[in-house]
Subunit: 302 residues, 2 copies
């Protein structure tokens, strides 16, 4: 099994009540790939500038991540900067410099065209779809993330891409905006008609809810005493989720439930340190131990 992710590879400037970094490795595809790499082989499709060094690439390579699909362009790498409020409930974007990302046209190396699992991180839905067109074998699962910008600006293109998506992973507000329905259970029925039969609603500190047309599953966020940097938690969730799924025997109720838990596990580790730091040095034994803690956190007998 092999998991392909397309999305942003970036440098981030992050300020939280716990500290400040001017420039650290970030981007949705980065968080996703590092999280997923704990479960399966990951292939990255993205673009970086000539400020992206061998040292940056080494972060991926030490985790065994395939960078054959990472394009190098002349110019600077996508840069994002943000500041979190004292409570980390709110985030102010300080800078969004698309740089080489503005002209990104995803191109899959031949070696990627047999990817069994695909994750389309939050980029232009037309680009997301162009990736699917380049895959030669029907994937076992296609996951997709999007945001208010695309729901608002490119609704037709997004609808077209959703037709080819099995698992939609978005937050509460995006679910409501996409469907025009406030109630999430009714919103899910709208989503099912668009294509995906699995809706994963990411709720940050409130965990995640999976609405499948055959079952429901809810997982809490792991209650942490220290949250240093929420950046990338949702992407790491997606990485843990899709990574586990690619390592499982099939996409079924059992593996989808477990995927939700491993997604939450990876999201919870991510926020404990700045940037991708925690994801790099994470051990599989730590992942397994926290997954067991999720069991303990949610189990009961009537």
């Amino acid at each position: 099994m092999s998991l392909l992710v397309v999305g942003s590879v970036a440098f981030d400037g992050i300020e939280t009540p716990f500290g400040k970094v001017d420039r650290t490795l970030g981007g949705a595809a980065t968080y996703f790939a590092l999280a997923a790499s704990h479960f399966t082989k990951v292939r990255v499709v993205g673009i970086v500038g000539d400020d992206f060094t061998e040292k940056d690439k080494a972060v991926f390579r030490t985790r065994g991540i395939d960078l054959n699909g990472l394009e190098h362009a002349t110019g600077k790498t996508f840069f994002w900067a943000g500041r979190y409020s004292q409570n980390m409930n709110e985030r102010t974007t300080l800078a969004t410099e698309l740089n080489v990302f503005a002209d990104f046209r995803p191109t899959l190396p031949d070696s990627y065209c047999d990817s069994s699992h695909i994750f389309l991180a939050n980029i232009d839905p037309t680009l997301q779809r162009s990736v699917l067109k380049q895959v030669r074998v029907k994937p076992k699962a296609v996951g997709l993330d999007t945001m208010n910008y695309w729901i608002d600006r490119t609704p037709a293109e997004l609808r077209e891409t959703l037709k080819h998506t099995q698992i939609l992973m978005i937050n509460d507000d995006e679910t409501r905006q996409l469907t025009g329905e406030h109630n999430l259970m009714r919103a899910a029925k709208h989503v099912f008609k668009m294509g995906p039969k699995t809706l994963v609603i990411k709720r940050g500190e409130h965990g995640a809810l999976m609405v499948h047309d055959k079952f429901l599953f809810s997982v809490p966020a792991y209650p942490l005493e220290e949250v240093h940097d929420p950046t990338g938690a949702g992407d790491a969730f997606a990485g843990g989720f899709m990574g586990y799924l690619a390592s499982a025997k099939g996409v079924n109720e059992r593996s989808l439930r477990s995927a939700m838990v491993y997604g939450s596990v990876l999201g919870s580790f991510t926020v404990e340190r700045f940037g991708v730091e925690r994801l790099i040095h994470l051990k599989r034994s730590e992942i397994n131990a926290r997954a067991r803690r999720f069991s303990h956190l949610t189990k009961f007998s009537l």
Copy 2:
């Protein structure tokens, strides 16, 4: 086992996107008692005016609730009115007429003084404590609800009452306000020092989190397609929780986890209809069926 609740018995005016009622039976003690009555014998300590009729009392009596501690005073019953926003995320209070409730001094009938389980709904902490002083046998569990008003206005009195409380049931914001700590896990440690060794954080549509000094337990809210009226959901949660606990063999990790589930079950039924309507006609078989659905909603195998 017998469960005593002290709190408001009221008439409510409620407006939601699904309808409007000018005057319906409400109040924290009412929702609590009706929810708890599905598990155990409930005794109510409260006050009503001379507009409170036999028909209103019959609602309690058909559920076997003991009203010997319900004082009748000259004047009008506590009246509250509120309007929910289109999304039901926000509530505007339109009227708060304390009426006879303004001079409420809880007095326990002799027959209540052996109550094994006690719930102090959200009233003046000095009145909450006066109830505990009147109980002659050490209760097996004392639960307490409070709100920003008391945390802000009567902190010393609240601290004193908390010393005699085992289970504190409040929401995220109240937890933060009470402890001055944003992080809920660290906030819980402050709560433990105040007295209660069990903190139940009610999070509305996001479920509830129990932080005990020995374990953690999280339960989601039941995802509903129809939420007609959120009024009383937190009080019904408390009623389901304490009612189950009073019916269980003891207060221990196992029964506390189950109590969280039954609390969520009762809260979820409450919001399906206006006011207390759903709680009155609820069957134990429906409660059990939904509790099993909570199992299905949260179970996974690694």
